[in-house]
Subunit: 200 residues, 2 copies
């Protein structure tokens, strides 16, 4: 069960994180932030809970305030493939399903207790239409999300598993402390045994 | 050499294509489109010419009016990896280099004679700041670009070459008529011989 302590508005201690995150790109007046936060709700999840389940509707796009998530696709043979991890200050969802209002083809699951701010597609549109600064903010995030994906494609095409391991270690050292080795192996597309050879 | 017949403004026959493309997402008044087109220039390239070369600056983001391009990364051993193709109605650039104003790590090369509308990062920012409709347009394009990349990652993680071949054929049948088989093989990460077994 989802522990929804503040189902209709942001909890006070999450204001600060969300505002600081947005203001890395666009400064906001108090009045503007009051408008922004009306569009978000807060959710808290325990480790192993699901934010999105494959085959179900995707209601929200999530901003991670604290915790760690994995975005996973399960293939026909039941094998899990990790598309990405998401931790503090990252946005995550099954964006195809979210933007087209179709069923999820990926699941989003907590690897740690996690707090998120999230909004519906309707509120995302209202927020962008009502405040150009927020449209600008999301455009910046989307452009850099797109760049990140382009780099991952390039890495999958050009690098072997050991090189991908080294790139990941360099780019996101925190992941190596927090993510179980079996999941890192899945993200890199290698067996757990192969990964332990890199780690030595 | 680049054949730049209209270096400072859009050629009349390209207006229509660009406007129709934008108006699939946001309707524009004549006055608004006059403002939009001030920010673009037109370029024409011959087959085999480069729009972007690895190691050089990336000045423009390109909208393809006609023609076909490949976005390619060359690895240390000299092997080419095709990150994507781009044809009519697609946007393409080395976006990491474009947005961070760093040197290109990919090249963008014509597979056919190609006409593009393009703009500098400075003009992109001016256009977004001056007309919220355009910020909204680019946000939509960026979100769907991000989704496309997420799907390609998933396909690289979960599908074998034959499945990727079938997905590509279904999604972009036109590519199979226009792209040499050797390049399709490179995009799919298989040898030319393997590809011909799929095609039969």
């Amino acid at each position: 069960m989802v522990n929804q302590k503040y189902p209709l508005s942001l909890s006070p201690n999450m204001h600060h994180e969300l505002r600081a995150h947005i203001e890395k790109i666009v400064p906001l007046t108090d009045e503007e932030f009051a408008f922004v936060k009306e569009h978000f709700i807060t959710k808290k999840f325990k480790k192993h809970q699901f934010l999105i389940q494959e085959g179900e509707n995707v209601t929200y796009s999530y901003f991670v305030v604290s915790g760690l998530l994995k975005l996973v696709h399960t293939d026909d043979s039941g094998k899990q493939h990790i598309v990405s991890f998401a931790m503090e200050d990252w946005w995550e969802s099954d964006y195809l399903a979210y933007f087209t209002q179709s069923k999820a083809t990926m699941s989003l699951e907590c690897l740690e207790d996690t707090e998120v701010c999230c909004f519906t597609l309707e509120n995302y549109r209202k927020l962008c239409a009502g405040l150009q600064k927020m449209e600008h903010f999301f455009l910046q995030k989307a452009n850099f999300g797109h760049i990140g994906s382009q780099r991952r494609i390039l890495s999958l095409l050009t690098s072997n598993a050991q090189q991908r391991y080294e790139q990941l270690l360099k780019q996101y050292p925190a992941l190596f402390q927090r993510v179980p080795k079996s999941l890192l192996a899945s993200y890199l597309g290698v067996s757990r045994e192969t990964l332990s050879r890199f780690s030595v």
